[in-house]
């Protein structure tokens, strides 16, 4: 652990990434705790004000505090990110482990299904689902989650396969250890690093996907705030209040950037085999 920390300290982009992620987390926490009950009151008399001491980033078309909206928007992003990636991780890893352990027909079927679902990009899937079941955060989560399943299944199977072919695992099998036990004891711990890195990256992608869906009106619905929807609202006011289109985008970019940097850094630091001259 100390070794990890000392190497981490010498990795500037990782530190920046972690910092940004902590900011994101802090924003979400703050908005959960402090703003949770606060309805975003519509105060038409305060609309479209410039940044000032009272409203750090100004107000939007309905008089709401932009800064507070941004903080609250992090809630949707994080929630979608965590649950969607969680779904993908949970089901995908199980499928991948199963495919790697079972081999033969089971593996073929699972992998064909995954390859097949890659033909349906995430947004398309999300649009189909929301077309049928209606827009909303839950459906957005389901759509993004479904898309994550084959991603994790693929990468789990690939990594698990290399572990399965290692000598000591073959030996364990020869000694009579069951496939399930081998998976739990040997395979899973060794692929954790890869999974953590991938999860971070998928989290970033989930945030982008949620933003896009909300922008289109298919994701998080009002009154729950969302960065994507803030951007769509801002677009109609582009000539009057251009600044409104800048802040939410910056928020999204910083969140995604932080996650990406952290993921890349983790990749460099966690697995010596994965680390390479950058």
């Amino acid at each position: 652990m100390n070794y990890f920390l000392s190497r981490a300290r010498r990795h500037p982009s990782f530190i920046v990434g972690v910092f940004l992620c902590l900011c994101l987390g802090a924003a979400a926490l703050v908005s959960f705790v402090w703003l949770s009950g606060v309805a975003f009151e519509v105060r038409m008399d305060q609309k479209l004000m410039l940044p000032s001491q009272q409203y750090w980033l100004g107000t939007d078309a309905l008089g709401r505090d932009v800064a507070l909206m941004l903080l609250a928007g992090s809630r949707s992003s994080i929630m979608v990110g965590i649950v969607a990636v969680g779904i993908g991780l949970g089901i995908g890893v199980l499928l991948g482990l199963w495919a790697a352990a079972a081999k033969g027909w089971t593996e073929e079927i699972i992998m064909r299904a995954c390859d097949f679902s890659f033909a349906f990009p995430a947004i398309l899937l999300a649009i189909m689902i929301t077309a049928v079941w209606g827009p909303g955060m839950i459906n957005a989560i389901i759509a993004i989650g479904i898309f994550n399943i084959p991603v994790f299944a693929r990468i789990t199977r690939a990594s698990a396969q290399t572990i399965w072919s290692l000598d000591y695992v073959l030996a364990a099998g020869a000694c009579g250890k069951g496939k399930f036990r081998i998976t739990i004891d040997h395979v899973l711990p060794n692929i954790m690093a890869v999974l953590i890195v991938q999860a971070t990256i998928q989290f970033a992608l989930a945030i982008l996907a949620e933003a896009a869906l909300s922008y289109l009106g298919l994701g998080t619905q009002p009154p729950e705030p969302s960065w994507g929807r803030m951007l769509s609202d801002a677009q109609s006011l582009l000539f009057q209040a251009p600044r409104l289109a800048v802040f939410p985008g910056v928020a999204i970019a910083l969140a995604v950037l932080g996650l990406n940097l952290m993921g890349d850094g983790l990749r460099d630091l966690l697995d010596p085999k994965m680390s390479r001259q950058r």
């Binding site: 982009s13 097949f116 890659f118 033909a119 349906f120 990009p121 995430a122 947004i123 398309l124 649009i127 189909m128 929301t130 077309a131 049928v132 970033a204 982008l208 933003a211 896009a212 922008y215 289109l216 298919l218 994507g228 951007l231 801002a234 677009q235 582009l238 000539f239 251009p242 289109a245 800048v246 939410p248 985008g249 999204i252 970019a253 910083l254 995604v256 950037l257 990406n260 940097l261 390479r276 001259q277 950058r278």
Partner: protein, 316 residues
Amino acid sequence: MIAYLFRRFLTLLATLLGAAAIIFIGLDLLPGNASQILMGADADPEAVKALAQQLGLDRPAIERFAEWLWGLSHMELGNSYAYSAPVAELILQRMSVTVPLALMAMSITTLLALTAGVYAASKQNQAGDVGIMGLSQLGVAIPNFWFAILLILLFAVQLNWLKAGGFDGWDEGVWEGFKALILPAVSLAVVQAAILARITRSAILEVLREDYIRTARAKGLGAQSVLWGHALRNALIPVVTVMGLQFANLLTGTIVIENVFYLPGLGRLIFQSIANRDLIVVRNCVMLLTIMVVVVNFIVDLLYVVIDPRIKSHQS
């Protein structure tokens, strides 16, 4: 070799068939009575039944599915409920916007990414490399629709060089059409280029570490010859893979970007049809997008065989 191609083609057809089935199930069977959805929850049951009959919804699912597949094979796609026009016509019209847009975006991406990637690899860890990699990190983190909005802000609002959206049709002249598509294409391209540049750079660096590069240098080849003659072709394999995958992203990106710029393209058609509950249009458009994605991946597989001679042998 022929056998390999034939097998891949069969896989392609099978994939399309499976995709069609899933699309049909997802958009036709699952939602329940389509005519009910079209007319709303508290419509008159008689009217709903009449519409259902008119749309042919009372026939068995397999029959409807087969009919649809047959229609797909010769562009007989039925009529749109919302537009009262043949779906095929609608789609073709929209394609005249989306296809040029996608091609423009793909060209910009390829050009930007390959040059940036090769350059960054040749200047590894120096200023040029760090700069390009930093930019690409930024590019990956930016939502493409936000970048589009920023572009509009700059070029339409501030500079007033281009319009903030809309597309008047190619009849107004190729140049006008081009101007309308340039901002959308750039916003689609930049994010993809960022990803592709990183892949290109790391693919080349990876290849430069291989033993055969050392052999090439030991033969007296200079740095440039090594890069272009030996490294690049080996690096193309992962690059082409990603480009194929990116095409799918590109197509779905058009759904969002066409909305940002109010372009009358395929993406916007899908979106509007969803709002109109015009499921027949949605179904066909989604199928079309899927066909395009699968075909592009097929082409990528073909390119592999051309690039890497080992693949042919593995298959035989």
